[in-house]
């Protein structure tokens, strides 16, 4: 059986479950909404140095929150292989005559699809809350970054899940990987006045380039050249596809 069909079947299953699971859908939107509403509105009235000229804090924050939503939901989509392992379904997938690689690609596609839906919903919410979009074409182009962020972190999630026995490690990932990745990415504050050590950490964080790229395309202001953001993030997402495929191929159930 061809790899493409297998990719489609894996994608189809994830999509069915995504559409069916209303609470997950709502949950994935709730936290970004609270960040925008409470953090965004809260800081909006303050004068924060380092923001692009003419932009409010809410304008600055919105792309960061889109990236945050993608980070959380994509990591979760990747790590959800552990749930399949726990509930036995992974065995059913693993003994089928399909390649492991197509299983990984199918899951990445599924995480990407749900990521795009979620990101567009968060963008819609932001616009309703008053975020200004100077360039609608840029908004369209931002989908490229949405896709790259989704691929990167679904891939990272699959890689981690391939090395884990059960769900016990998930809390560790949450506290020691997802939270620092989010907080260091420049989603919440401008990067140009950070102390040296913190800036160094921020530049190691792949999400930094996702946030910066999204911000460039959505609000028209960015810290780094948008092409540089694209090249680094694209490189990272390719590396994550490779790593996920490699590690998942080695797992036994």
């Amino acid at each position: 059986m061809s790899g493409i069909t297998a990719v489609y079947i894996i994608w189809l299953r994830e999509m069915k479950k995504y559409i069916r699971n209303k609470s997950r859908l709502v949950g994935n939107l709730a936290m970004p909404f609270f960040f925008l509403a409470f953090l965004g509105m809260g800081f909006n009235s303050l004068n924060i140095p380092g923001l692009p000229a003419g932009a409010s804090y809410l304008d600055f924050l919105a792309p960061g929150i889109v990236a945050m939503g993608l980070l959380f939901s994509s990591m979760f989509a990747g790590v959800s292989i552990l749930w399949d392992r726990q509930f036995g379904f992974l065995k059913e997938i693993m003994v089928a005559p399909v390649s492991r690689t197509s299983i990984v690609i199918g899951r990445i596609f599924a995480g990407m699809t749900s990521g795009i839906i979620q990101a567009l919903l968060i963008l819609a919410i932001s616009i309703l809350m008053g975020v200004r979009i100077p360039n609608p074409l840029g908004l369209l182009a931002s989908v490229i970054f949405i896709v790259l962020i989704a691929i990167s972190f679904v891939g990272l999630g699959i890689s981690l899940a391939s090395k884990m026995e059960d769900m016990h490690g998930f809390q560790l990932i949450m506290n020691f990987l997802i939270m620092p990745t989010f907080l260091l990415s420049g989603a919440l504050f401008p990067l140009d006045r950070l102390p040296g050590w913190l800036a160094a950490l921020a530049y190691i964080d792949p999400l930094t380039y996702g946030v910066d790229g999204l911000r460039a395309l959505i609000t028209g202001a960015s810290h780094l050249p948008v092409m540089l953001d694209f090249v680094i993030l694209a490189g990272f997402s390719l590396a994550m596809i490779g790593l996920a495929t490699y590690l998942f191929n080695k797992t036994e159930v």
Binding site: D84, F87, F89, L90
Partner: protein, 330 residues
């Protein structure tokens, strides 16, 4: 043609644990073949090797005439597996679980739909096919898994502990389904079990397996006959004395001593009980109870392993899995 051939099959895990220690097997097409043994005997590891889920350390195994280490995809297409632990997606409906499986095995749409209807009928789940699996009972889940194992018309179906954790009535139903599909679908069935009655009822041939080795292999009838007649078990105050006394009796076979009881197999054992009791009395042995029964696979098992299958203490890992299983089977 043999559905399965294994020669000197071995699996050694890290730390030198020999899970399977040189197994030779031949299973003919159309057979229901049972691997009977306690937890940790190596049954599941054997099945995992035959099903290409884990690589043998050494030895050979052919399934449907194909070497499991050479062309695993060809082997996978020709086998169906029902795992020991549930392996369904309970957020999908029964039909969707079957559909997913059929697509993974590359069945075209029309054939897929026909076959789904067919296997659902076989396990009598047609009216619940569109319910989410999380709403199913333990027995229904098991039946759905068996149906799924049959979806792609495999030549060989592996059933790993098919009735583990199910109640007595549900086990009966599953047994009936297994017999039916063996006849109707002409599929070869390899099952593992640690239930004596299950092996006895279902299997044409049984291999008794312990510590990764096959101790004996034959039809359940022949295995039981090899015990040398009916089995008398006496509960006494001096088991060792009683054992030597029993050994001296004419026609006595397989005298076994366990703690405070002695079992002895002999032809027409019923008519020899008075004689047994008299000689016990003469020797000054107090007899507390006498039990006479036809030999069961349990007796065969005790004969070959020197222990009851139930004596095997489950390890902590097994107990955890049992709990998980009980939860997910609810």
């Amino acid at each position: 043609m043999n559905a399965i051939e294994a020669g000197n099959l071995r699996k050694e895990f890290k730390g030198g644990i020999k899970a399977v220690d040189g197994i030779d097997l031949e299973v003919k097409e159309g057979e229901i073949f049972g691997l009977l043994g306690p937890n940790g005997a190596g049954k599941t590891t054997t099945i995992r090797m035959l099903a290409t889920m884990t690589k043998p350390t050494s030895g050979t195994a052919k399934v449907c005439g194909t070497d499991v280490t050479k062309d695993s995809d060809a082997v996978r297409r020709c086998i169906g597996i029902v795992f020991q632990d549930p392996a369904l997606d309970d957020q999908l409906t029964g039909r969707e679980n079957l559909d997913f499986h059929a697509r993974m095995y590359g069945m075209p749409k029309k054939e897929r739909e026909e076959r789904i209807a067919e296997v659902l009928k076989l396990v009598e789940l047609g009216d619940r096919a569109n319910d989410l699996v999380e709403k199913y009972s333990g027995g229904m889940k098991r039946r759905l898994e068996i149906a799924r194992g049959l979806m792609h018309r495999p030549m060989v179906l592996f059933l790993d502990e098919p009735t583990l954790g199910l109640d007595a009535q549900t086990r009966r139903v599953i047994w009936d389904h297994i017999e039916k599909l063996n006849k109707k679908e002409k599929v070869t069935i390899i099952l593992t079990t640690h239930y004596m009655d299950e092996a006895d009822y279902l299997c044409g041939r049984v291999a008794i397996i312990d510590h990764g080795k096959i101790l004996s292999m034959d039809t359940p009838g022949n295995l039981k006959n090899s015990m040398g007649g009916d089995v008398v078990t006496l509960r006494v105050d001096n088991a060792s004395k009683m054992a030597s006394l029993a050994k001296s009796m004419k026609g006595a076979a397989n005298v076994k001593q366990h703690d405070s009881s002695v079992s002895v197999a002999m032809a027409n054992a019923g008519s020899r009980i008075p004689e047994l009791l008299k000689s016990a009395e003469r020797a000054g042995i107090r007899v507390d109870s006498v039990d006479l029964h036809k030999p069961t696979l349990e007796d065969v098992f005790i004969h070959f392993t020197g222990k009851h299958i139930r004596d095997q203490e489950a390890g902590a890992g097994d107990r955890f899995r049992e709990r998980m299983r009980a939860r997910s089977r609810r």
